[in-house]
């Protein structure tokens, strides 16, 4: 018995295949989901992958959020379905109001691609249980619009409730407020982050580290335990 984890392909999704590979390497079964299809194929969890859905036109994630598939994702996420949004997926989650805040253009106005140091701040979410609290990891980051912003009240609330899941360490690559790299919803089933754990799952390719694999093993263990 393994878990089935859906990966949504929007037009312009780029890391959908990589995410499927990461899910496979973690031992789960990846299931391709199509943006025009409301059917989530009874998956146990969903990943919204990175990329430039709809070319990031209008605003990153702003168009994808209206895809038929997102209606189902929003409904089921509210009912507890684990959802991970990576980079563009995180942007879609904020646009869909599954997570608070918004993403603006990087403060230096350039695309940035680097192996980024993060600190894991919350290990109670569906996607982070395999990390230890305070653990420092390196995860590739690559984005144009990665500056996380929210009003002070929201930021204080996120901090107070321990919902800042990841923070940039050493270097804030995009001007995100309070060095926030990733957050979770109140229930801990929905997580969004800008860096790309699917690019850190094999020693030979990508960043050459496997620091991203625990995202996928965390969810697998949780789902298998629950079944």
């Amino acid at each position: 018995m393994t878990a089935r984890i859906g990966v949504v392909t929007f037009p312009g999704s780029l890391d959908d295949r990589d995410t499927q590979r990461a899910i496979r390497l973690a031992g789960a079964e990846p299931v391709a989901l199509w943006h025009k299809d409301k059917d989530l194929k009874q998956v146990d969890a969903v990943v919204l992958p990175g990329g430039f859905s709809y070319g990031d036109y209008l605003r990153a994630g702003a168009i994808s959020r209206f895809s038929p598939v997102m209606e189902s994702v929003v409904d089921q996420a509210k009912a507890g379905l684990p959802v991970l949004g990576i980079c563009n997926g995180f942007q879609v989650l904020t646009e869909a109001h599954l997570l608070p805040g918004a993403m603006l253009g990087n403060d230096h106005l350039h695309f940035i691609c680097r192996d980024q140091k993060l600190r894991v701040e919350n290990t109670d979410t569906a996607w982070t249980a395999d990390y230890t609290a305070g653990q420092e990891i390196h995860i590739p980051l690559k984005n144009m619009d990665g500056r996380y912003v929210a009003d002070e009240h929201t930021l204080d609330m996120l901090e107070a409730e321990g919902r800042v899941a990841f923070r940039y360490v050493g270097f804030n690559p995009n001007g995100s407020l309070r060095d926030i790299a990733g957050i979770t919803n109140e229930a801990g089933n929905v997580v969004g982050l800008m860096p790309h754990p699917e690019h850190a799952v094999e020693p030979l390719v990508g960043s050459g580290r496997t620091d991203g694999l625990p995202f996928f093993t965390s969810i697998l263990k949780k789902l298998v335990a629950a079944s």
């Binding site: 312009g12 780029l14 990461a22 990329g51 070319g55 695309f111 691609c113 699917e198 390719v205 990508g206």
Partner: protein
Amino acid sequence: MSLDTVENAAKTPDVELPWAELGLKKDEYERVVEILGRRPTGAELAMYSVMWSEHCSYKSSKIHLRQFGEKAPQSDALLVGIGENAGVVDVGQGYAVTFKVESHNHPSYVEPYQGAATGVGGIVRDIIAMGARPVAVVDPLRFGAADHPDTKRVLPGVVAGIGGYGNCLGLPNIGGEVVFDACYQGNPLVNAGAIGVMRHEDIHLAKASGPGNKVIMYGARTGGDGIGGASILASETFDDAKPSKRPAVQVGDPFQEKLLIECTLEAFAEKLVVGIQDLGAAGISCATSELASNGSGGMRVELDDVPLRDSTLSPEEILMSESQERMCAVVEPEKVARFLEICEKWDVIATVIGEVTDGDRLEIFWHGEKIVDVDPRTVAHEGPTYERPYARPAWQDALQADDANKLPRPSTSDELKQQVLALVSSPNQASKKWITSQYDHFVQGNTVLAQPEDSGMIRIDEESGLGVAIATDGNGRYAKLDPYHGAQLALAEAYRNVATTGAKPLAISDCLNFGSPEDPDVMWQFVEAIRGLADACQILGTPVTGGNVSLYNQTGEAAIHPTPVVAVLGVIDDVARRTPVAFSEEGQLLYLLGDTREEFGGSAWSQVVHDHLGGLPPQVDLERERLLADILISASRDGMVDAAHDLSDGGLIQAVVESAMLGDKGARLIVPDGLDAFTFLFSESAGRAVVAVPRSEELRFTDMCGARGLPATRIGVVDGDAVDVQGEFALSLEELREVHEATIPALLA
């Protein structure tokens, strides 16, 4: 003006057409009239003018480029050679790889962002058109002086354009070059390369065969951008007196192209496509005439059916438009419905615009009237060819006599140290991280090596670990001193760079960037460079699979340095065996492979320290390059080296500093007997590499080099946190890193 039909043209032979404004010479126009037996219609004139431009017809270069075919080495690897959208190479295990480099120089000077972005778009469509999934891009770039104000306009735009387009397409950018030289002021070189992977049986060709088969245009709507781009932009130099040509540069939409990739590959997978061609330079004129010409010749096109972005476009403009992200497929009638369905799935507009006929004429209709009736071969393949006069420049002897080896050398250890710092912090040798960090090199999850490694490497099979490597190199300074050997040195360096990572070089693509072919000096450089490349390919066993020629890279009388850029593609059986540049373990022994001579002509040292260009470039020994490559590949496969770095511009010290900084491990170097410290550190003798050998492998490695006759000199050890040239100076990694990384951001950020 009323519609100029074929019928009308036959009746009105005396109507004057603006052939000169469209870039045709008088004799070329007369030749068109002779071919047609009447004056051309406006639409026909548009087609001929754009297809007979230098950019599309290779009229100045064709007779010389033939050498690449005539002198091609025997190679079992070559599946598709020159002439198609891109060449295809067999890399084993049933996989084929297609790759090509092209230029987008002139548009990138006019409008850096869009010029560079559409350069990426164009080369990627060439790759898709072969039937392959694009897996990586590389970008060899050359700009004017790093501190020139216009470089600050051009470079950030070009880099943002490459990133903006390539990142959005999901293609890892794994290599290339960034070179600064005042000779490129006003004529930056923006070359773009792409690699695609497919199975052997999936190779597709640009060919319209089978009467009754439908011609489908799909992708973006046709607009007014880039009209005349091919004939005007690429063929004439920029002259301040002329009006701005800004509107002639196309605007890219990478999102549309990403959809085009996915929907094309899905159509290929279902075997729906007979022939395919991308729309690049010369748009529909090129695609229809080439498809028809490569097939049986007959095609009928209804131009009214082309989806337009601007309904006021004239038929001539539709034929010439270079709107991006468009493709043309030839599909059997019973498969059309399914093809359109796939396009619909991806929200890509697709329209049947014509069909293959059993005749041998390309006929194009507008509002029911025939406006083009030509033999497509005369448009696509039988354009004019020129034997431009060429002669060795009068100044060449004086340039070669101005020997760089006689320049004053550092006289003290401290001076030597200061020159090392000046070298590693000079714009050409400094870290390009500020640029490359704007490119995604992780996407697709198969990147094994990316810049600043010697070559980019991509895994193409997850099970077996099969991978491909690509390196691009060119050195305009060497080529200026001696274009024949300069071109060979570009090839040798790229070949060596592929081998240092452990991959076996298989084939090459080239982008030949030169000044005006109408200048006999430039034409001589061009002819010499091609001869040099073709001869070298024969010896190295690497056929030319295709590429591109960019001429007229000059402003007024001043041409750029002759700049042949060579991309070498290699294959590695298992990417786990690749060799990186970075030193990884203290105590490993550093060996210098090859012979070091006093060779400073065209060197980075002569440029940085003396602002000098003269003398002769390093000697070329292609047999030695082959042997060195064999040794590097064997050593990589058998685990005898843990790091390797090619020695080229900047010489040994540049290579050691880079390997040390990347691995965060220092090195102690000992000047070998028979060499002085200066020559040891700065010479740019070709055919060399530095390798880090684990102590346990030393004997095996030196035995192998000895048995094969490759000089291998022990020059030091990986150790500490400084680069320490014993008896001369030591520079901490911290200090080196600081100066190496500060230069480019200080100039451009």
